[in-house]
Symmetry: C2
Subunit: 171 residues, 2 copies
């Protein structure tokens, strides 16, 4: 089964991201707006094996402040435009733990925490869209207190298997 680990931010930020994704992101209907902690990976492990590890991981962290102050682009690597999240120790360590303690190999690229708002644009579209979105800018902060294990269905959409709360002591 193909899994991924993501943060779904607040409704407010998801609605804002969707207002752009609707026009500029072909994955719009496949998954709500998200910040990816671990890219899609295949494993034969049971989901319950993964959730045990993710629960342990989640207990090592406290809720943190997600700050987004910039619209950015991965060009020239890809034409993906995104809300750039300020990196912080929690995000870096969560990303690290998700790779180190779960199957799926090494990250394929350096960790740039972000919420995608446009992708697979032509170069001309990218120039236009990035030009205007960069001008609009973004100022957003929120507390993140959870992340999600998701899995991919046959139609390429993603379904949520489980939520993990940061720093919650189960008792």
């Amino acid at each position: 089964m193909k899994y991924g680990i993501v943060i779904f931010p607040s409704k407010k930020l998801q609605d804002l991201a969707n207002s752009y994704r609707k026009r500029y992101d072909p994955h719009y209907a496949l998954i709500p707006p998200h910040l990816t902690l671990k890219e899609a990976f295949n494993t034969d492990l049971d989901a319950d094996n993964l959730t045990d590890k993710l629960e342990e991981i989640s207990q090592n962290y406290e809720p943190f402040n997600l700050k987004i102050h910039k619209v950015s682009s991965f060009q020239p690597i890809t034409n993906t435009i995104y809300f750039k999240a300020e990196n912080n120790d929690t995000l870096t360590s969560l990303h690290h733990d998700c790779y180190k303690q779960l199957p799926g190999g090494e990250p394929s690229h350096p960790f740039v925490p972000h919420v995608t708002i446009a992708q697979k644009l032509s170069n001309d579209e990218h120039s236009d869209v990035y030009g205007s979105l960069r001008m609009l800018g973004i100022e957003h902060e929120e507390i993140i207190d959870r992340f999600h294990l998701v899995y991919q269905l046959e139609n390429d959409s993603w379904s949520v298997y489980e939520t993990f709360r940061l720093g919650r002591d189960h008792q």
Copy 2:
């Protein structure tokens, strides 16, 4: 905010449902296949207020066997076609608790646990599709050990807020 409470069944059943929903359900892209425990409801309560109650509820139940042996239709009330789940005490009580212990008023109709595979069809389409799906039939069983609190985004799609595991003792 508008919330709902649903069970997302296994990938296998979701894939099967989606193979029909893709053609016959205009909500196909808005939410993965699901069994609704509590219909969409509006409340000003914080999500965390709801999750506290839902966590209490979830601890009163054990995982249960979901049995689906029939394709059925709500006609003449609506042209919705669905996988009909066998009712059982857990489903009935979960449904009851979700209405009794959370805001949102009374159920608008009797509880018929189901996974929708087609809706908003014309009468002619309904006859054709129901005729062939009923012939195909379905034989499916699986263990359900979780349910989800979901909320609706501005674009009418649904995002998962949290998962609740049945009978899990948090310690």
